[in-house]
């Protein structure tokens, strides 16, 4: 082996079958950083690799750009020509853009997405806050309170992650409809189809993953920290809020973004549990795609309206999202 850098052990498992002992002598004198620089440079200057990467990046971006550009074009133009035909116009200043499509999608009598937008916000915020809070408490319980059957119950919660929510939809819906009798008697209106059942359903469906993820993060907190607080006479509630909660803020942010995107982008739960008056954006836009499939001026604007908030949240908080995803993917 021609390992020249001192202190670098050669892992036997990773050594490839063939060797090349004629490594140029000059390479051995280079420091690690310089080698890294050469390797990086070598990769960049490989034209094929760069070409493939650029082509992939363009392929992945163009469809969204097409949607965005189209949503700002006048209706007639959209029908007559492809969105790419505006590209020369952008440089010459001839391209015509308008907010009419957004106006129609948001306030037009057919679409009226401005109201639907409120629905999505009203659905999303509690459906993020509630499961995180409940799961945090449970994660603490599973991690730091001794009680009989703890491991068994935790494994059960973990295992229920894999249950597809389709399995639970119909029984839950019939429950909610049955509860209407009671709520009609007390409040004068039924509960099925309202925000309340959607909040409850979203919260339940999020709990297994949330509990599991937050438990993993909570377990990483050093035991000595919790023990020290306990010796000082702090109860569980105090330990939870004073010691653990501040340490878990990044983990909570990570799962929060995860759940936010999930609920905002969800179609199945919204479709199943909401009345038309309370339906979220995804349901409204999917419906538009079905009933007005050819009206691309409304559809593109509507789709973009439904995407803008998650896009902004995602781009601003990408770091946390990636962390949550890696924790979920690698540990789960």
């Amino acid at each position: 082996m021609t390992t020249s850098t001192p202190g670098v052990p050669t892992p036997g498992t990773a050594s490839p079958a063939h060797r090349d002992d004629d490594e140029p002598a000059a390479a051995r004198k280079l420091s690690r950083l310089e080698k890294r620089a050469i390797a990086t440079k070598g990769r960049l200057s490989s034209p094929w690799a760069s070409l493939v990467a650029i082509v992939l990046a363009i392929l992945w971006t163009i469809p969204s750009i097409g949607l965005l550009v189209t949503s700002f074009r006048p209706e007639l133009d959209i029908r007559r020509s492809g969105w790419w035909t505006v590209i020369p116009g952008i440089f010459s200043g001839d391209a015509e853009f308008t907010f009419d499509n957004y106006d129609q999608a948001l306030y037009g009598s057919g679409a009226n997405l401005s109201e639907v937008f409120v629905n999505t916000i009203v659905i999303t915020l509690p459906a993020v806050l509630i499961p995180i809070t409940v799961a945090l408490l449970a994660a603490y319980g599973f991690a730091w309170i001794e009680f009989p059957g703890r491991n068994l119950l935790f494994v059960a919660v973990f295992a229920l992650q894999v249950v597809p929510i389709q399995v639970a939809l119909v029984p839950l819906l019939s429950d909610y409809v049955q509860a209407n009798g009671f709520f009609n008697a007390v409040f004068g209106v039924g509960i099925s189809g309202t925000f309340w059942t959607v909040w409850l359903s979203h919260s339940i469906f999020a709990l297994p993953l949330a509990t599991f993820l937050l438990h993993n993060f909570m377990k990483d907190v050093p035991r000595s920290l919790v023990e020290a607080a306990r010796v000082d006479g702090a109860g569980h509630v105090k330990i939870f809020f004073r010691v653990l909660f501040p340490l878990l803020v990044p983990a909570i942010a990570a799962f929060g973004i995860f759940q936010f995107l999930w609920v905002w982008n969800d179609l199945l739960v919204g479709l199943t549990f909401t009345d038309p008056a309370y339906r979220p954006l995804t349901v409204a836009v999917a419906e538009m795609a079905g009933s007005r499939g050819g009206d691309w001026h409304i559809l593109t604007a509507g789709a973009f309206i439904s995407m803008i908030v998650p896009l902004v949240v995602f781009l601003l908080l990408q770091r946390y999202f990636v962390r949550g995803m890696l924790a979920g993917a690698v540990k789960g």
Partner: protein, 329 residues
């Protein structure tokens, strides 16, 4: 109090939301206060306070409905007449449903494989380049877009206009065909390729996920290993084949299985783009159709159970691989 359950205006909706959150905070506060009284209480009472809400909610909203669905799957459409395994038999023998299973299989095999391969290649190509951050964000962004939104984006790419003089294509893909001198196609109608074009949307969404996880795994490969391999004369493809891929094997398994499960359960793309017509129906959408359109509760339950059964081997494989890699460690 009616507005709390059935708000009419935007203000009432927002108020109902605030009330719901406050109500929840109060309930949780009461529970915590009750288990945190200074007097000695057995630890299991404290445990119930912390763990109880999750267990109760999961038992009520996941476990119990799951068992009901399993039970219902042995019944006729109105869930009164016991029919044994008839729903499952019908699923496996009826030609239309057999096709649904085949199409679903195509989704579950192709979407994870292609997303992972493309994501891996891309992660390796942009690794440690100057534009890594931007390049990754571009491919990652579709993860933030709902599948409904993605369906509209791609529906527009696939848009078809009849091939007549004076009519120009407005869908990009058909315009590319026209530029190449090929007549435009109805991508979402022609079987069996339409399923492929739907799967492409899922690949577009999931590649970012694969790329991000795999890129993190690649960066975690110890420098010593890559350096030793480089000194041993490994470059480019050899490095990729003998060092990168074996080193990130556990991450590859996780990515493949995660995407497979997402793909299996997702019905949004099919529902939005074709509604399951033209031979594109999949199990997740067939469940929705049977449950809420055809009102065949027995068959819908059976489809939901099948969805669950199909997830199990994927999870089992995932867990086994994790055990194995932990043993090695």
């Amino acid at each position: 109090m009616t507005w709390l359950l059935a708000p009419d205006t935007t203000g009432e909706k927002l108020a109902a939301m605030v009330v719901a959150v406050l109500l929840f905070v109060v309930v949780m506060g009461v529970i915590l206060y009750a288990v945190d009284r200074p007097k000695r209480i057995p630890s299991w009472v404290v445990a119930v306070g912390f763990v109880g809400p999750v267990l109760a909610m999961i038992a009520y909203g996941l476990l119990r409905p799951g068992l009901i669905t399993l039970w219902d799957s042995f019944f006729h459409r109105n869930t009164t007449e016991f029919v044994g395994l008839d729903n499952y038999v019908r699923m496996l023998t009826d030609g239309a449903f057999q096709k649904v299973l085949v199409v679903t299989a195509a989704w579950v095999i192709l979407a994870p494989l292609l997303s992972t391969v493309i994501g891996l290649v891309y992660a390796v190509l942009v690794d440690r380049t100057r534009f890594e951050r931007l390049a990754k964000t571009l491919v990652f962004v579709p993860m933030a877009i709902s599948m409904v939104g993605a369906s509209i984006i791609w529906g527009f790419v696939y848009e078809f206009r009849p091939d007549q003089p004076g009519v120009s294509q407005i869908g990009l893909l058909n315009q590319v065909l026209v530029w190449l001198g090929i007549p435009p196609q109805q991508f979402l109608i022609g079987q069996p390729w339409n399923t492929g074009f739907l799967i492409l949307v899922m690949i577009w969404i999931q590649t970012g996920f694969a790329m991000t996880v795999l890129s993190a795994a690649i960066k975690a490969i110890p420098d010593d290993i890559t350096e030793a391999a480089r000194l041993d004369g490994l470059h480019g493809l050899g490095m990729f084949r003998y060092i990168t891929v074996p080193s990130i094997r556990p991450a590859l398994v996780v990515v493949l299985t995660t995407i497979a499960m997402t793909t299996l359960k997702a019905f949004d793309i099919v529902r939005t783009m074709t509604g399951g017509q033209f031979g594109t129906q999949i199990v997740a959408n067939e469940f929705y159709t049977q449950a809420f359109r055809q009102n065949n509760q027995g068959l819908a339950a059976a489809f939901a159970v099948v969805l669950f059964i199909l997830v199990i081997p994927i999870v089992a494989y995932n867990v086994r691989q994790m055990r194995k890699s932990e043993e090695i460690r």
